[in-house]
Symmetry: C2
Subunit: 204 residues, 2 copies
């Protein structure tokens, strides 16, 4: 029984490819497994996406385009640095808990092929830290923040929010917690991380 066009096989393929690529990576993923996951024939993958590379790129772009708006929130909105940090931290941690494989997938594949980010930056002119840096400089000069370098602060914010998810197996081993305990720890971080950062940079 052949499926009809409007049941949208293409979407099913992309969904299956996401699951497999995000857990196994480009090199570890098998076209057959993607086909099986999508419940279709392997030839269909090549019918809709010419080859593994193109299918992978579709998945990667889709993943990145989920992530980019999260990052732009902190780079390009108009609230104070302090508000940005609080907002970003809670929103980002919630977001990642819904997409736990995402950050690791992006980082792993960017390390495998660093040129990928060049392609991305052409479509995504948004990823620009300049406004954020200017705002940090301003708030420092107003005496609202201690002397702080914008780029280092930005790296710190990303590190504290993203790293625990990327290094989850390592962290679980250290902290000796199971999946539930790990989640509780991450829930705590929604507020603790922003307090930690603001404590460090706020002038008082």
């Amino acid at each position: 029984m052949a499926r009809t066009k409007d049941e949208n096989t293409e979407e099913q393929i992309l969904e299956a490819a996401k699951n497999v690529f995000q857990t196994k990576g480009m090199d570890g993923a098998r076209m057959q497994e993607i086909a099986d996951t999508a419940g279709i024939n392997k030839a269909m993958l090549h019918y809709y996406y010419r080859n593994k590379q193109l299918l992978f790129e579709a998945v990667f772009k889709s993943a990145f385009s989920l992530l980019a708006p999260q990052l732009n929130k902190i780079l390009n909105d108009d609230s104070s640095i302090e508000d940005k940090i609080r907002n970003f931290t809670t929103n980002y941690i919630s977001f990642i808990m819904k997409h736990p494989y995402l950050p690791n997938f992006i980082i792993q594949e960017l390390n495998r092929n660093p040129d990928f980010i060049i392609t991305i930056q052409k479509n995504n002119t948004l990823l620009n830290i300049e406004k954020f840096k200017a705002q940090v400089d301003l708030e420092v000069s107003q005496g609202n923040l201690k002397p702080t370098k914008g780029d280092q602060l930005f790296i710190n914010i990303l590190s504290l929010n993203i790293f625990p998810f990327v290094a989850k197996p390592l962290i679980k081993a250290f902290i000796k917690e199971d999946e539930k305990g790990f989640k509780q720890l991450m829930e705590q971080r929604k507020t603790e991380v922003s307090e930690f950062i603001i404590n460090s940079i706020k002038q008082h």
Copy 2:
């Protein structure tokens, strides 16, 4: 011309395998490429290490045993929390700049196979956070530190030190720096990160 025993082919294989596995990962690495890098026949890999999995495990253990002492320094020595943070930050960043592929390799492969860490913890009973947590609690009760949870502090320290190297391609894209600029930024972090953390937790 067959090489003689004391030229130590086994060591050359491990060295080549390190290079290839750490840059390409288990799935991306090819036995042929490892053999070529070592300048020997592919069959030799199987002569010294039975198969790819065992060769990989040798590389992984060797990598992890480089990393473990770094982590134990912060967990199990007797200096104050503040000194620990300063020491760990400078030492760890210097260490990683000499072994740039290490953290990403470990994290990537632990995510691929989380059971791996169970094997490791059997040989490496050292990775225990309890002493660190007790010390944090003590220094909090002495009024030296603000109320701080030991496990969250530990996660923060790891995040701030390790993440920039793991996410290097992403960071370089944001900050718009080349390799040299990235290194300068990391040099700065040797002192900035510890100040950032201590600022946040020190009671004053």
